[in-house]
């Protein structure tokens, strides 16, 4: 079966292409690029992308799909549906499922569930330590063989530097990046928002920025020592961005991602005690947000990842200090990136595409993805940068409704999503 994405404008940063180009797909792969005046082959289906951008499928390095174990919040199928509706063709779920994804059986289960759903690709992230308890190493080699693309203990970061060092030494053998949610919990314990003027004002316990800084610096020192690839999850502080920038200049193998909420919101939004502004790392103050924007601009920050963290309404409808951390984000990320980064002139469209496709593919070594060069997998995100739309929690594909962006108006979105050459979403 042949499909031509016709009349669109192709942006493929990995191939350094930014031009009007038709993309021909055969058997789930890109088979050729055709100039607008080139005749398509006979019997070819045509998707008209006039006025639209055609980009390599977006890859989200950081999601929580809750399956197995917390299917009332999200399933792999519902999470994948939310992903493709947001323009993401691949998502990488964190291992904090129940049981924890610390072995090949669970990794395989997650991939199988994703294949059943037939929407987005799911590339699981395995645990660093068994049950993410921070003590014994999990079977990284087996998980890698089953399809895991990285390891992390995410929200329960390995507190012991000795264990983390061994984890890096070991993960390196299998070419697995070690992802760290940087938070020294001895400094942030009990905290529910960024520590600063607003937390003092609201009487809420703060999580100091330095809890993230200290852990990020530790990881970078360990990366330098071990030569492993460390990927810093959801950077949110000036200190962490600065540390990554210095490390990259030194040639240390470190990458990092940022979430849309951390480049959009500040801790001031917590003022109404709405638990949909509660997440870890927390929304930081203005100075940190400025440092994040700077890091996006100068390339210190490699990727945009959602940290999509669905929680059931009943869990979020609690006292602010008792509600769980996290917000959904798959469907709003592209809109936020357009509003806050592209339309404000902070980054170019090309750079946005790079942060959502080429870079994530490189960071997790996803072969044949993150580009639309002939021969690559036909994961494609088709974007209308001028489309005006309003996000509504009520219409979300996710099983959960915990987004603070309910009612936000955006300009720019994914209007069609192809995974393996198959149209899985159309606005």
């Amino acid at each position: 079966m042949k499909l031509l994405i016709a009349n669109g404008h192709l942006i493929d940063p990995a191939a350094q292409e930014n031009t009007g180009m038709n993309v021909l797909i055969e058997d789930g792969k890109v088979s050729a690029w055709l100039r607008p005046n080139e005749k398509p082959p006979e019997g070819c289906e045509v998707f008209d992308a006039s006025g639209l951008l055609v980009a390599p499928g977006f890859i989200d390095l950081h999601v929580h799909l809750r399956e197995p174990g917390q299917e009332h919040k999200e399933t792999i199928a519902s999470g994948a549906a939310a992903a493709v509706a947001g323009g993401w063709t691949s998502v990488c779920p964190m291992p904090n499922t129940n049981p924890v994804n610390d072995n090949a059986a669970i990794t395989r289960y997650m991939i199988e569930q994703a294949e059943h759903a037939g929407l987005a690709n799911v590339f699981p992230i395995g645990a660093i330590t068994k049950s993410s308890d921070g003590a014994e190493l999990a079977e990284m080699g087996e998980m890698k063989a089953a399809g895991a693309v990285a390891v992390s203990d995410d929200g329960r970061p390995v507190p012991n530097a000795g264990i983390m060092r061994r984890a890096m030494q070991y993960a390196k053998d299998f070419g697995l990046p070690v992802i760290d949610h940087c938070e020294d919990k001895s400094l942030s314990a009990g905290g529910v928002m960024h520590e600063g003027r607003v937390s003092l004002l609201l009487g809420l316990k703060g999580m100091p920025a330095l809890a993230e800084d200290i852990d990020a610096v530790r990881d970078i020192i360990l990366a330098k020592d071990t030569g492993a690839h460390v990927h810093i999850a959801h950077v949110s502080t000036k200190g962490a961005v600065d540390a990554v920038r210095r490390a990259k200049n030194e040639g240390i193998n470190v990458t990092c991602e940022v979430t849309p909420h951390h480049f959009t919101l500040t801790d001031k939004f917590v003022e109404g005690y709405d638990t949909n502004y509660k997440m870890a790392p927390p929304l930081r103050s203005e100075e940190h947000l400025e440092a994040i924007i700077e890091g996006i601009k100068d390339g210190t920050i490699d990727a945009i990842a959602t940290d999509h963290a669905p929680h059931h309404h009943d869990e979020k409808a609690l006292e602010f200090d008792r509600a769980p951390m996290g917000i959904t984000g798959l469907e709003t990320a592209v809109g936020l990136a357009f509003n806050e980064l592209v339309h404000k002139g902070i980054i170019s469209l090309e750079r946005l595409v790079e942060m959502c496709s080429a870079n994530p593919a490189r960071i997790f070594s996803l072969e044949g993805r993150g580009t639309l060069r002939p021969g690559s997998v036909a994961d494609i995100t088709v974007i209308d940068p001028e489309a005006k739309w309003t996000y509504s929690n009520a219409e979300s594909r996710s099983r959960s409704r915990n987004s603070p962006f309910d009612g936000w108006e955006f300009t720019g979105r994914a209007v069609a999503t192809f995974v393996g050459g198959k149209l899985v979403f159309q606005a």
Binding site: G196, L201, G203, G272, D314, A317, L318, E319, F320
Partner: protein
């Protein structure tokens, strides 16, 4: 949530203007008289229902609100929830909606978590009154403290107030700082460095006022470089002596043993030696300085017994004003107006 006509919440002092605070104080003043009558009851809130929803134990505040409601002829119902709603598997919002279905006019809420009154106000038709939420605010305590101060000092403009103790966790300190600075007093806070964090002097910030609210009045305000107005009225002192020196009012906060357990200070003994209010320390204040304490007191720890029992200590006056303030607040929450 749209409130029925004229139902008004009292969530915190930080949302109030100086004029609104003065209005509540003036109204409270006029309720004082009812509390010394032979028949301490007026029919004003007859047929209205006040629910005292207490998630934290507090005999004094709850009794004070209950008496206030009853003296106004409202039907007062006390609900004590030993621990959080979570233990029953019911969400905070569910609890609010269930109470709301019984059509109360006013819900007085005390909770160990900051922000609960704000969360309830969003879903409840009843007027919500904050009787203390976590480390956030305790507005009626600040109002009764202000009544006590006004009785003795007549005015707030230029008044020097020292607040000593666990500033970080104190809702009483927060409400008092907002109230006193809005009315033009200067506040100095002191306590162990672990309990008076860096940057606390930036707590009050005029940029914070909700849009559409009346302009800030009273107080010395200075414009900083970026145009945000920062009143230079809140100062953090390194030593308790610096805070107390020359003060008109010394407010002592209760220190909790849990803070020792969490390593905020080594021992209560050491706390009492270095941060307790003794006669010698009080002698640094103005001759006619008054001493306030939100109670219950830990005698011999944050306050020496001889200070607590001296004529400068107005702790019982505070309790007396408490009922009048709460009557005023209930009255204003359910339909009355304050003088302007």
């Amino acid at each position: 949530m749209e409130k029925p006509f004229r139902r008004r919440d009292l969530l915190g002092i930080r949302e109030l203007s100086a004029a609104e605070i003065k209005g509540i104080l003036d109204t409270s003043e006029n309720f004082l008289e009812v509390n010394v009558r032979e028949i301490k009851k007026v029919p004003t809130l007859r047929g209205k229902t006040v629910i005292n929803l207490f998630f934290e134990n507090s005999t004094r505040t709850r009794t004070s609100f209950e008496l206030a409601a009853k003296r106004l002829s409202a039907d007062a119902v006390n609900i004590s929830v030993a621990s959080s709603s979570l233990s029953k598997g019911e969400t905070l919002v569910d609890t609010a909606l269930n109470l709301d279905a019984m059509n109360p006019d006013c819900i007085v809420v005390r909770h160990g978590s900051a922000g609960v009154p704000y969360q309830l106000a969003k879903v409840s038709k009843a007027a919500i009154i904050n009787a203390g939420d976590g480390s956030n605010e305790h507005p009626t305590q600040a109002l009764l403290d202000a009544m006590t101060i006004r009785e003795h000092k007549k005015q707030f403009d230029g008044l020097e107030v020292a607040i000593v103790g666990d500033i970080l966790h104190s809702r009483v300190a927060r409400s008092n700082i907002h109230l006193l600075t809005k009315l033009g007093a200067r506040v100095r806070v002191a306590g162990p460095g672990t309990l008076v964090p860096n940057g606390f002097e930036h707590l009050i910030h005029l940029g914070e006022r909700p849009s559409g609210s009346p302009p800030y009045e009273g107080g010395v305000a200075a414009a900083s470089a970026d145009g945000v107005v920062l009143p230079q009225q809140l100062q953090v002192c390194e030593h308790i002596e610096d805070a107390i020196r020359g003060a008109d009012v010394v407010m002592i906060l209760r220190i909790q043993r849990e803070r020792q357990d969490a390593a905020y200070f080594p021992t209560l003994r050491e706390y009492s030696i270095h941060y307790g209010l003794t006669n010698e320390r009080l002698d640094l204040a103005k001759k006619d300085a008054i001493v306030l304490h939100p109670g219950p007191m830990n005698r011999g720890i944050e306050i020496a017994s001889e200070v607590a029992d001296s004529s400068r200590s107005l702790i019982l006056d505070q309790v007396k004003y408490g009922v009048a303030v709460r009557m005023a607040v209930l009255y204003l929450a359910t339909g009355g107006s304050a003088p302007t």
